[in-house]
């Protein structure tokens, strides 16, 4: 499980951003996590509760937005959303595609702070 080290990175970045904005308090952190990012939402939440204690993020919320995989189908000429990660084929014409346009994200999108 590497979610704990991921979360330590999140806490560091969020603390820095909040301090730079002169925040009095951090209310929430919004993460975007793709289905191919290799991290598990529950493990992130669990690690966050543990690791945020005694940091400026203690008591704040972690909100994880999960993003599905989007491939580009070269037959249809369009991006298509996949409903899982078990098959990388266009859901309409079933052509395989390794052209991934979304799903690898592991990003701090924003933070909600009190100023």
């Amino acid at each position: 499980m590497h979610e704990l080290s991921i979360i330590l990175g999140v806490i560091e970045t969020v603390s820095e951003s909040a301090q730079a904005a002169n925040a009095k308090q951090i209310i929430a952190t919004y993460l975007r996590v793709g289905a191919l990012s290799g991290v598990v939402k529950d493990a992130l939440l669990f690690s966050f509760d543990l690791a945020s204690q005694d940091t400026p993020l203690a008591g704040s919320k972690l909100i994880v937005e999960e993003l599905p995989v989007v491939i580009h189908c070269h037959s249809c000429g369009e991006n298509k959303v996949l409903d899982g990660v078990q098959s990388f084929r266009c859901p309409v014409c079933h052509t395989p595609s390794a052209d991934i346009r979304q799903g690898k994200e592991l990003e701090i999108r924003s933070i909600e702070i009190e100023v």
Binding site: A98, R109, E114
Partner: protein, 226 residues
């Protein structure tokens, strides 16, 4: 009464930014030095070390200059095995961490002249989950799957197999004893990573090694032409 104002601050930062930036820098360094770097990933016991032992020895015999970094949670057993090939080998002990990170690679390259190498192999920690998230600056990521593990492993660990540039099926000499279903295994890999290149071999018995070595030389040649 104090007025409390809340606001939302856009951050838009990749959590693994530091690792990814370092990996990108290292990739450039490797390309400039002309060393072709491979990151070998698999579950524990898939045969990464055995494949590397034979690969290092074979490439050296062909007059190529090779080196290896080996990640392990605790021991340096694998580095000792690989050093018998005569190639420079260094152990990266992760102290319980389940994956290698770009910074560990950089630290352990200290003192090695990259210009004097043709191939650098990185043997990742045996783990099909966490190493998928960490770019090490490699040119090619190779996922190993042994015939003893079950044909549905790519479906169970899609993130890793999707992130791989090539797949190697190992322990082919045991295929019959394990009732290995070749068609299903190859189909599952390609379902997760369409058009991926697949090499089948048994490093121990020397089966399929020629195809693997020509794959390495072909990839290196293609990279140097870019």
């Amino acid at each position: 009464m104090a007025v409390v104002t809340t606001r939302v601050l856009e951050v838009r930062k990749n959590v693994l930014n530091k690792n990814d930036e370092l990996a990108r820098d290292m990739r450039k360094t490797f390309e400039t030095a002309g060393v072709f770097v491979l990151n070998l990933v698999s579950s524990p016991g898939s045969g990464k070390t055995m494949l590397l032992e034979k690969t290092l020895a074979e490439l050296r015999q062909r007059g190529l200059r090779v080196a290896a970094l080996v990640g392990d949670l605790e021991t340096d057993n694998d580095a000792k095995r690989l050093a018998q090939s005569g190639a420079p080998v260094r152990q990266i002990k992760t102290d319980g961490r389940c994956h290698l990170e770009a910074t560990m690679i950089r630290t352990h390259l200290d003192g090695w002249s990259l210009d004097a190498l043709d191939f650098l192999f990185i043997e990742n920690v045996g783990n099909l989950v966490c190493p998928a998230s960490y770019d090490l600056g490699e040119a090619v990521r190779v996922a190993l799957l042994s015939v003893t593990e079950g044909e549905d492993k790519p479906l169970k660990y899609p993130t890793m197999f999707n992130s791989a540039d090539a797949a190697v099926i190992t322990k082919m000499d045991l295929a019959e004893a394990c009732e290995y279903d070749r068609e299903t295994a190859l189909r599952n890999i390609r379902e997760i990573r369409p058009s991926i290149e697949i090499v089948e071999l048994s490093a121990k018995r020397g089966l399929g090694m020629d195809a693997w070595l020509s794959f390495l030389e072909r990839k290196k040649r293609a990279a140097s032409l870019r």
